[in-house]
């Protein structure tokens, strides 16, 4: 591979979770930016589902996704057939690198030098911008949040609101420094400046790259959900549009889209609907006066077909990328998106990324949760996120002989000391006599209880053993 000519913001050691978490927690600005944003999103979501039978809607969302997954290979073939018939080229990529190559080859064939991008988390997963820029093709983000993050040389800290970690002042300074806008706390001014700069880019871009929210097999339709119009610009103005998406995004029928759309926008930002719901089923047809003459879809596996093998892990693929799990996550709210060091942060990142980067690399992700269950409670498609976190914890320590671990990099977190401690714990708690003896002795010796218990007593006093266990008291009571 050629030497890197640009800094790749994706090159973060995922394993260094702890130092990043400590730094984020110590940074009052990060704490405040996230807390404020998440509080707002939580309350908006709640309002948006007012009057709905939310459980029935979530059941429908989950079932629609499950039904699509149950028929996944057939639906993908149907989608391909329909799209091809509509004049849209379909490509398949095993991983992000292959997907990048496909995009680049399309660019090269068209002699394209500039790519404008609509918001796409899959393109982040592919690290597409970096790949293209290393090969002399400019890739510019047009979603305002992504644009800001790109100016800063960063990655998104939230899958829906990429620049949520920055406040207006920080963004103003960044835009001033990088694009020469005036320093201002006027969000309208900053937005208008970005509009002006990006409009020029839209007019001159050779290729538009977008993501896909739902791909409908029945009609061969690519659906995009957005508020800004950058998605529509990206998919309409340049002469060539390339959509990139994960293979799990397909649904069977157009009707399936209705509940998913209702769930997605309300869960994500508390909107009844986004400003634009953009459904693309064809390249420009003869007689039509605008729209790209060439449209491509790149379907990316990148670990998804491995997730697909296992009945429990499969639920991960139901995700519609609304971000509600991170909005409601007390850990995400404290540490922010960058701490995770992964494309997808927060609870969904914790259950998805280990499959993409390996459980050895992502070993801290499943543990960074109190298993409070807020994520699972709000998930619009009822992914049992806490259960999947426990499953991945098990996989990361090879903790279940009856259900041997499957995920790439499993067992990497198994330490001999920790394993011994749990073995000892298990030995004692599986033997009632030993347990009663041990706990009674501990109660007698409670004055000798250590005052310091690692991370616990850094923030709290040590728990105090009672003088007598409940077992002893019940015994005295004659039971």
């Amino acid at each position: 591979m050629s030497q890197s000519t640009t800094d790749n913001p994706h090159h973060i050691d995922v394993k260094e979770f702890h130092p990043r978490a400590r730094a984020a927690i110590a940074d009052p600005k990060v704490r405040q930016n996230f807390r404020k944003a998440m509080d707002g999103l939580i309350s908006k979501r709640k309002d948006a589902f007012e009057g709905w039978d939310l459980e029935a809607l979530r059941d429908l969302g989950a079932n629609v996704r499950l039904r699509a997954l149950a028929n996944l290979p057939d639906l993908l073939e149907q989608l391909e057939k329909k799209l091809t018939a509509n004049g849209i080229y379909v490509h398949w990529a095993i991983d992000g690198d292959e997907a990048c190559k496909i995009v680049r080859n399309i660019c090269v064939a068209r002699n394209a030098r500039t790519v404008i991008k609509g918001k796409s988390m899959v393109s982040e997963e592919m690290e597409l911008n970096h790949y293209l820029e290393e090969r002399g093709i400019e890739a510019l983000e047009s979603d305002l949040g992504e644009y800001i993050v790109q100016l800063a040389g960063e990655t998104p800290s939230h899958i829906i609101m990429p620049a949520i970690h920055k406040n207006t002042g920080e963004i103003s300074e960044l835009m001033h420094e990088k694009t020469g806008t005036d320093l201002s706390n006027d969000v309208e001014y900053l937005t208008a400046s970005a509009r002006q700069q990006l409009r020029e880019k839209f007019m001159n871009a050779d290729v538009g790259v977008s993501g896909v929210n739902f791909a409908v097999a029945e009609t061969g339709t690519l659906c995009l959900v957005e508020n800004e119009g950058n998605g529509r610009m990206t998919t309409t103005v340049p002469p060539c549009h390339i959509a990139v998406t994960g293979i799990e995004k397909v649904v069977g029928t157009l009707e399936d889209v209705a509940p998913l759309l209702a769930l997605l926008t309300r869960s994500a930002t508390g909107q009844h609907i986004t400003t634009y719901f953009n459904m693309i089923s064809s390249a420009r047809k003869p007689g039509e006066l605008d729209g790209p003459e060439e449209v491509h879809l790149v379907l990316i596996d990148n670990g998804r077909s491995s997730i697909y093998q296992d009945d429990e892990l499969l639920d991960t693929l139901r995700c519609i990328r609304c971000g509600a799990c991170m909005n409601h996550c007390p850990v995400y709210t404290r540490v922010g998106g960058h701490t995770y060091g992964t494309t997808y942060p927060g609870p969904i990142g914790k259950i998805l990324m280990p499959h993409l980067i390996g459980l050895d690399e992502g070993r801290h992700l499943p543990t960074a949760s109190s298993l409070c269950g807020a994520c699972g409670e709000v998930c619009p498609v009822k992914i049992p996120i806490p259960d999947l976190l426990v499953r991945l914890r098990q996989e990361s320590v090879d903790g279940d002989k009856l259900n041997p671990a499957k995920v790439r990099g499993h067992g990497a977190k198994r330490g001999s000391v920790e394993a011994m401690i749990w073995k000892g714990w298990s030995w004692m708690h599986a033997r009632p006599g030993a347990y009663r003896f041990g706990t009674a002795v501990a109660a007698r010796l409670r004055k000798l209880q250590p005052g310091k218990l690692g991370g616990w007593t850094k923030y709290r006093t040590a728990p105090k053993l009672a003088a007598k266990t409940l077992h002893e008291r019940m015994k005295e009571r004659g039971q």
Partner: protein
Amino acid sequence: MSSRDTILQRLRNRSGGDLNVPDCDFAVLKRQPSSVAERIEQFQKTIESVHGEVHRCSSENWVTQLAGILSDRGAHNLLIPAAHTIGHTLRDSGRDDLPELLIYDEPIESWQPHLFNEVDASITSTRGGIAETGSLILWPTPDEPRLMSLVPPIHIAVLEASELYSTFHEAMLKQNWASGMPTNALLVSGPSKTADIEQTLAYGVHGPKELIVLVIE
């Protein structure tokens, strides 16, 4: 083996075996029957909550209302459909209080800078609306191409009140979308907006800054 075949084979030969196909009960999307007046009211309330503007008109007075809207904003020109009745009505109105009327009758490549820089407003028809979400249904055509509702800073949409549906679900079923989708179909629910800077709403980030709906009753 190609990547396509590798992926499909992995999916087909999944180690977990066949998956259950659950039943999907769409009843939760069904709504009580409502009157046109109720749907207009809900549509108006919802789209106004996201900064859309609604003018209730009749087929007799909408041009007058339009002229007022455009002159209030000092629009110098208006992009209109060539073939649709809206276009005909405007061109045949003989009014002198309308701005210059432009027609999108050439491929975008021949006039892109003009569209991007010179056009103040556009007017398009709609294929109906959705009361619950305050949405307009647009299926762009050669007569009303895709960029018409996107690039000019003001987009005016004409909505026949009789074509207001309760929900997206109802609209797609009643209009039988599954039987064939156009190149591009859109739901438009308000002007372009962003909250990417500290959750503060700003309008017109890429698309129109104003969305004005003329509801014809």
